[in-house]
């Protein structure tokens, strides 16, 4: 990990208009991604993790979606305003993606070879034979046995774990600078998850790829990520180096989240902590802290205004009135 920032997300806002009102799926998200860094985004369902990343690569269906504000700077270019032709040059080439479900993200009618070669030929100016060689090499790196044979098979002939390896091989075949992995192991069993995470970690380290890893599993984040963003109801509530956040979480939501996961390595004879209440309905959210109905430390101001972001050493940032109240009022 170096200090060179390759992707800058500034105050990103993605809204969806639905029958019931306006859904602010992502509402003012900012973070920097450095070269070679692995950044984790955790949060519960509906917190805006996936929408953040779909916005980055401009894959939000519009309408009903709408980018309501913000910038995504990649080498100084704003990806949000780039014409389609140009963003296509970046997508799958400089920035590539792995999705949760490897069955629906591979085309079931096409051989793996066809799908991999298509990407490589398009972005790397190689001819078909060279592209196939490259594809086989990538499959081998991703740990697929007998890649020369397997490459001419169809996706259904691969198991779930193997399909995810194909996805990894495919997404890294153009040496991207950024890999966005959206819940890459959530559909897999633990033993397969361990294999896939290891392959991902090893390959991205070797190729120097920066990774944005979206997951709901704190365990996966703890093992994989350098930095961490915790999302709640469309905003990042806490951001900072993973080990520091786990050791000393500041936001009440982060604290609750870490305490409410049962641990394998500890005697849990006492009761598990749980955050009370339900995640908020994100339709027409009022401009208060969305966590306050569930927060043990809620104060009056939390009901009135969304907290400003307080910055701490080591690049930590927390959006909570516990930390920013004193400075502003």
């Amino acid at each position: 990990m170096t200090n060179e920032v390759i992707l800058q997300v500034k105050d990103l806002r993605t809204y969806f208009t639905v029958d019931e009102g306006l859904v602010k799926a992502v509402d003012g998200v900012s973070f920097d991604l450095h070269k070679g860094e692995t950044l984790g985004i955790v949060g519960e369902s509906g917190s805006g993790k996936s929408v953040t990343n779909l916005s980055i690569i401009n894959l939000i269906p519009m309408p009903p979606g709408k980018i309501a504000g913000g910038q995504v700077l990649f080498h100084g270019k704003d990806l949000l305003t780039l014409p389609q032709a140009e963003i296509r040059q970046i997508r799958g080439n400089k920035i590539s993606m792995i999705f949760q479900d490897p069955m629906t993200s591979l085309n079931p009618f096409l051989k793996v070879s066809t799908q991999m070669i298509e990407t490589i030929v398009l972005h790397q100016k190689l001819d078909k034979d060279a592209a196939k060689q490259k594809a086989i090499e990538m499959l081998k790196l991703a740990g697929i046995p007998a890649p020369e044979k397997r490459i001419d098979q169809y996706p259904h002939q691969f198991s779930g774990g193997m399909r995810q390896r194909v996805m990894i091989a495919m997404s890294l075949s153009c040496n991207p600078e950024i890999l966005i992995a959206d819940e890459p192991t959530s559909a897999l069993d633990v033993t397969i998850q361990a294999q896939i995470l290891e392959i991902m970690q090893e390959l991205t380290k070797r190729l120097g790829t920066a990774v944005i890893l979206i997951t709901h599993s704190l365990g996966v984040v703890a093992g994989m990520c350098d930095t961490l963003c915790v999302m709640y109801a469309g905003r990042i509530v806490e951001r900072g180096p993973t080990d520091v956040i786990f050791e000393n979480p500041k936001h009440p939501y982060t604290q609750g989240l870490i305490r409410s996961v049962p641990r394998l390595d500890m005697e849990n004879s006492q009761r598990l902590y749980s955050i009370q209440g339900q995640p908020p309905n994100v339709i027409d959210l009022p401009d208060c802290c969305p966590f306050y109905p569930r927060c043990e430390k809620a104060m009056d101001i939390c009901k009135k205004k969304y907290p400003t972001t307080a910055n701490f050493e080591q690049g930590r940032a927390v959006s909570c009135w516990l930390y920013s109240g004193a400075k502003d009022e």
């Binding site: 774990g161 033993t191 361990a194 902590y273």
Partner: protein, 334 residues
């Protein structure tokens, strides 16, 4: 162990599903989803059943409740063999044995209100004269149950789609409690829930167990969840149980190579611990349960395999320290 303490005793339970083969071929193929499983659950105990997808956890639960007609074996609930029970005996037994399912979206009828969903078991048993509860009493019971599982009684006229995932799972739990069963078969009841909701539901299961003296068969694939909720844990692989032991003991001292690998593969939410861990990464995928193998089912992926493992299948046997393990590392082949 005193016999009367046993609430559920499962012996050599087998569930084979026939699969279609070619239309002229005489050979019949089977999926051996559960292939000879033995375990028992004491009254008031929680037995955790853990394993990867396709290892037969859910099939085991469904075969116990006779939702599938098992291929072979015996299932004793309070001493009565459910496999041989008549339809009316089975009905009576079901009063004592309810299920909570994984997907709170698919397991609730979208056209019934939550109150009706919870009252349905009572109404069915009422119709057959197995429960004596009038309309008012049923209503009152439904309201009590809703409050007990953490739902307001005013929600009883709402439909499932008006609830969040966690609330729906609470409805499913209230429905399972409606007939005051002794045994609840929980089939991955928290895997579809978010972390913060998962811990609420886990605590609810624990509280209900204490309050009503419930016995659980608790299925999950998350090892940490199983550790938190269970007294004893059974680890399944490819339709067989490979290890059973006390929950604390299993995690401290796993014996079967598969259990060891499974435990080491599970991520721990602590970067410091993660940085120091050494993983046993298993090679390959779980094989398909479409044939019976002569040897140990874990043979292909095992790091400690021996020659004998290929030709003989180890039986589940007790070791000195109270574990039951099916592995030749711990007992000699016959």
């Amino acid at each position: 162990m005193n016999k009367t303490d046993l609430l559920l005793d499962v012996r050599n339970l087998k569930m084979h599903f026939p699969v279609k083969s070619g239309f002229l071929s005489k050979e019949k193929n089977y999926i051996y989803a559960v292939d000879g499983v033995d375990f028992s659950i004491k009254r008031g105990e929680t037995l955790g059943l853990v394993g990867e997808s396709g290892c037969g956890k859910s099939t085991t639960a469904r075969a116990i409740s006779q939702l599938y007609k098992p291929t072979g074996g015996e299932v004793f609930l309070k001493g009565k063999d459910l496999m041989k029970a008549s339809a009316s005996e089975l009905m009576e037994a079901r009063k004592n044995m309810q299920m909570v399912f994984q997907d709170p979206y698919a397991s609730l009828n979208p056209r019934m209100t939550s109150g009706d969903i919870i009252a349905e078991p009572i109404r069915i048993f009422q119709k057959r004269g197995l429960v004596n509860m009038g309309k008012d009493a049923t209503n009152e019971r439904v309201e009590q149950l809703m409050e007990r599982v953490g739902l307001s009684r005013f929600f009883k006229n709402r439909y499932p789609h008006e609830f969040s995932g966690g609330q729906r799972q609470r409805i499913g739990i209230a429905r399972a409690l409606a007939l005051q069963p002794e045994l609840i078969l929980c089939d991955e009841p928290v895997s579809a829930l978010d972390v913060s909701i998962q811990s609420q539901i886990l605590n609810l299961f624990k509280d209900l167990q204490q309050e009503f003296g419930l016995t659980y068969l608790f299925i999950a694939h998350d090892l940490a969840v199983i550790k938190y909720i269970s007294d004893r844990v059974a680890v399944m692989y490819l339709g067989l149980i490979v290890e059973i032991s006390g929950a604390k003991d299993l995690y401290k001292n796993p014996k079967h190579p598969y259990t060891q690998a499974l435990l080491s593969a599970a991520p721990i939410p602590d970067p410091k611990v993660e940085a120091q861990r050494r993983r046993i990464i298993l090679t390959g995928d779980v094989p398909s349960p479409d044939k019976q193998r002569p040897g140990c089912y874990f043979y292909d992926r095992c790091s400690k395999r021996m020659d004998v493992c290929k030709v003989q299948r180890p039986k589940l046997k007790e070791t000195e320290d109270g574990h039951q393990v099916a592995c030749f590392l711990y007992h000699k082949p016959e």
